[in-house]
Amino acid sequence: MANPNKNPAFMFGYRLYVAAFFIFLAAPLIAAGAFAFNDSLFPALPWQGFTLDWFFNDTEPKLGMFHDRRLLRGLYYSFIIGILVSTLSVFVGTTNAFLFVRGNFPAKNFFYILMILPLVIPGVILGISILVLASNMANGVEDRFNLELEFLRPGILLVVLGQFSFITTITSLVITARLKKFDYSMEEAALNLGASRIQVLRSVTLPFLRPAMIAAGIVGFLVSFENFNTTLFLVGSESPLTITMYDRMAKVGSTPVLNAVSFFLIVGSGLLALISVAVQRDPPS
């Protein structure tokens, strides 16, 4: 224990404060999730009784989330975008980890800071700057060659690139931290036993990195899934779930179907976050 002269009244107050903080942390999540089960057309009190209609009912006005075409399409696009972003960013994150842990090149510190930078650039600015560049390129090609490059217009590709631009920093940091803990003698042993460099990479180094790569992939997927600021500027007609939900909240007004989606996402991301923590734990030996 770090604090030797403990005053019981002080410690009681301290614990109360910590408890109050966790209630504060949980309150809006509970509110967002709980109203999914209220048998009412509005996400508000009074409690009208328990129902699962907001998940499974197939008729208006209580259209459940699993029958709501637009929400399902949003979920599908979010999923596709999340998979693409996490795959790409884990790949570049891994090469970055090798580059900065193993590589020796001039101005390494400067480049390392460049790698951190995307994490502190506001998401809105990443969004608009990528939108501006892509549109400039598309317009230039159109004016000069009379060619319409559809993929440079707002749409899935730009959303993926926009999210990838800062999620790669996160994956790089996670994988770099793991690679730093690697014991070089393991590689040397494999080399002495006659393995080639490629074999060592495939059978020694990459398996060691695998937990960090999986965790980074999950984190990348979650950050991509919940991203709003960057996506807002780059989205075309294929809206991911957060954008669809926001539109509905702002324009149509909220019905408990949004609570059903919230519940689904809170549980889903909570489970994924648990998995990402669990895979990073070293197995008990």
């Binding site: 966790f22 949980a26 809006p28 967002a32 600015i125 923590v277």
Partner: protein, 288 residues
Amino acid sequence: MQSDIKRLSLILLFAPFALWILLLIILPHLGMVVLSLREKVAPRVYEFGFGNYIDFINEPIYWNTLLRTGSMSILVTILALLIGFPIAYYIAKIAGRRSRGALFLLCLIPLWVSDLIRAFGWILLLRETGVFSSFLQWSGMVSEPIEFLYNDVTVVMGLVYTVILFMIVPLVSTLDGMDDAMIEAGYNLGGNGYTVLRRIIVPYAMPGIVSGCIVVFMMTAGSYLTPILLGGKNSSWFTEQIYDQFITRFNWESGAAFGFLLLAFTSFVVWLGLKLSGQTLANTVAKS
């Protein structure tokens, strides 16, 4: 031969990094700056000039919004630090071995839930027909419904809520690395709780504090959902102005200028904070 292979692999490793930083970070930001220096003189005719920035200076609404965003973000950062530090200290130093992991997990899970859902939850609690208002009426403390949304206090509270975990997580990892013996030595040498905190714990935790503050400040200044959803149409957040210029008015030149101003302003505040605390970007944000 050996050195050739080393060189080749270095180049192969450098290529994805260079493509990423160059194509998605440096070039887009240069493009944004170039665009912001174009003035529209006639339809589809542009000229180089500082017109967009002059417009910004001449229109008090714009720079007031930027200053308001900046000062409220600083307030949110300070509040997040003051509220978060005792929590991080409790998790890292006071909680027992088993509850420590559980509490830390409880902090991590809401981190991965979208801002949108968290703001939605606050709306359900705080609006006129929301849970708090209903509860107060039911308990007889008030007779009319109360609107808790759409004021600055709620916006600040919502922002603190959104970002505070990004303060707590780096603080926990920094404090976790601190040897308890250092604190005990402080007490044994006759320090009281306050001097130990000020002379030993805070200096040790400084990299974590600065790192948390930078991330929290940038996230707050760049946030869009929380101020709009909890503050309503009159929240006057600078990102809202950027969105307005880009999407509603389709005035990309001025939107790009606003984007650059937000970036320059927030970077300046972060630079100032680093200078004042004697830290660098590499030993703070990079470590967490």
